[in-house]
């Protein structure tokens, strides 16, 4: 297992793997908050299934992060025993659920990026990354198909649903820029051929969003201020509440096992 990754700095690789894993973990947790609360049974099941896929993918990414780090941390210890400043997820995935439409819009904006990212990662020079991506991309194709479908149906729906979807798009938009911006970790991964540069995903993401919003009769906001910081551990207060909920058991009863 330990061959791979020719020139990549292991610390940067761990950082990048945590970004991939934390996106899945935090969005998976957010989506799981709907379990038992969705507007109709089929959607409740679909959301729970999506969350399950994301949590499964988390185990692969964070498991590999712990292995590369080599300090004996498992996917579980990374998920349950880090504090907010050590999380590397995008600000977008920690945004509160809001209504059903807002949850689906957040999912679509992320899925469109996630699909493009995983698709590129199937050609990673690191076989461990490529095989996780090849597994995950098949699941995420279904996530994207579903979220795009619902964004279109709700956007091109009733006056009420359309207004809510436009509001969701407008309020989430300032959190979408971060996933398409490069920083030092991204450049180190791209140089080693492990991952694409985020900005190289931008044209495809823009096209997917534009096509879907056109069908949904929603107006794509003109670029404005974009928040960033999640990728380097500067989070909104929303993450603290997620962790308080998600990590309670391990914090209160350290080492508890199922």
């Amino acid at each position: 297992m330990a061959q791979a990754t020719p020139a990549a700095d292991p610390a940067a690789l761990v950082e990048w793997l945590c970004r991939m894993g934390d996106n899945c973990l935090i969005l998976g947790h957010r989506v799981s908050e709907w379990c038992g609360h969705s507007p109709v049974l089929e959607e409740d099941i679909a959301l729970a299934n999506t969350a399950l896929d994301l949590i499964g993918q988390t185990q692969f990414w964070l498991g590999l992060a712990g292995e590369v780090e080599g300090k004996g941390r498992s996917a579980d210890s990374l998920a349950y025993l880090r504090d907010a400043a050590q999380f590397r997820n995008l600000l977008l995935v920690e945004r509160p659920n809001g209504d059903f439409g807002n949850t689906l819009m957040r999912q679509f904006l992320f899925d469109a990026w996630h699909m493009a990212m995983l698709d590129a990662l199937t050609g990673s020079t690191d076989p461990r990354v490529a095989e996780i991506a090849a597994k995950a991309v098949k699941e995420v194709a279904y996530h994207l198909e579903r979220s795009a479908d619902l964004v279109i149906r709700l956007g091109d729906g009733t006056g009420e649903s359309r207004a809510r979807m436009q509001k969701a798009l407008d309020s989430l938009w300032p959190y979408t820029g971060e996933m398409l911006l490069d920083d030092g970790v991204d450049r180190a991964m791209a140089a080693a051929g492990i991952a694409p540069l985020p900005q190289d995903l931008k044209a495809g993401w823009d096209r997917t969003v534009a096509e879907t919003m056109a069908q949904a009769t929603l107006a794509v906001p003109q670029t404005g201020y974009q928040h960033k910081g999640g990728k380097t551990g500067r989070h909104s207060e929303a993450l603290g509440y997620i962790l308080a909920d998600m990590q309670f058991l391990q914090r209160a009863y350290p080492g508890a096992v199922w």
């Binding site: 896929d53 095989e131 090849a134 597994k135 991309v137 098949k138 699941e139 194709a141 994207l144 879907t212």
Partner: protein
Amino acid sequence: MSGAAHPDIAEIWRWLSQVPDPEIPVISLTDLGIIRGVEWQGDTLVVTVTPTYSGCPATSLITLDIEKALRDRGIDRLRLERQLSPPWTTDWISAQGRESLRAYGIAPPVDGTAADGRLAGRIARLAGTSNLVIACPRCGSTATERLSQFGSTPCKASYRCTDCLEPFDYFKCI
């Protein structure tokens, strides 16, 4: 166990073909196509298993079931390995497995129809030009409609037959 006393590999495959999937017990683990390899490495039997979906909660139960089935047959030196690549696909479900699914009331997968993340497929479906035809496992009618892309487990979608009016699960392609 000495080398000479090792049970035959084909025999071990036969034993594994009797281990049911914990969530859909009419289909065996070998029919599902998730056992990717069985081999002796010295005195240790190595069984390679690939997960269906990343988060499938049955994965750990499947591991336990394999272990139990083989230990019950007297194999005490056993190692299970997880293999992610190539990723599991419903194309690996055997003909026998597909028939068992249908008889159980689950429409088997239609190969080559997995979502690929391209909007073209979705648009074709919305426009009614998709060629994906799912036959009702109860009455055989092809007049069926999708209720939801996700069903009672991640591997299934929910459908309804518009002839006999029964809802049913479709084992979707991945």
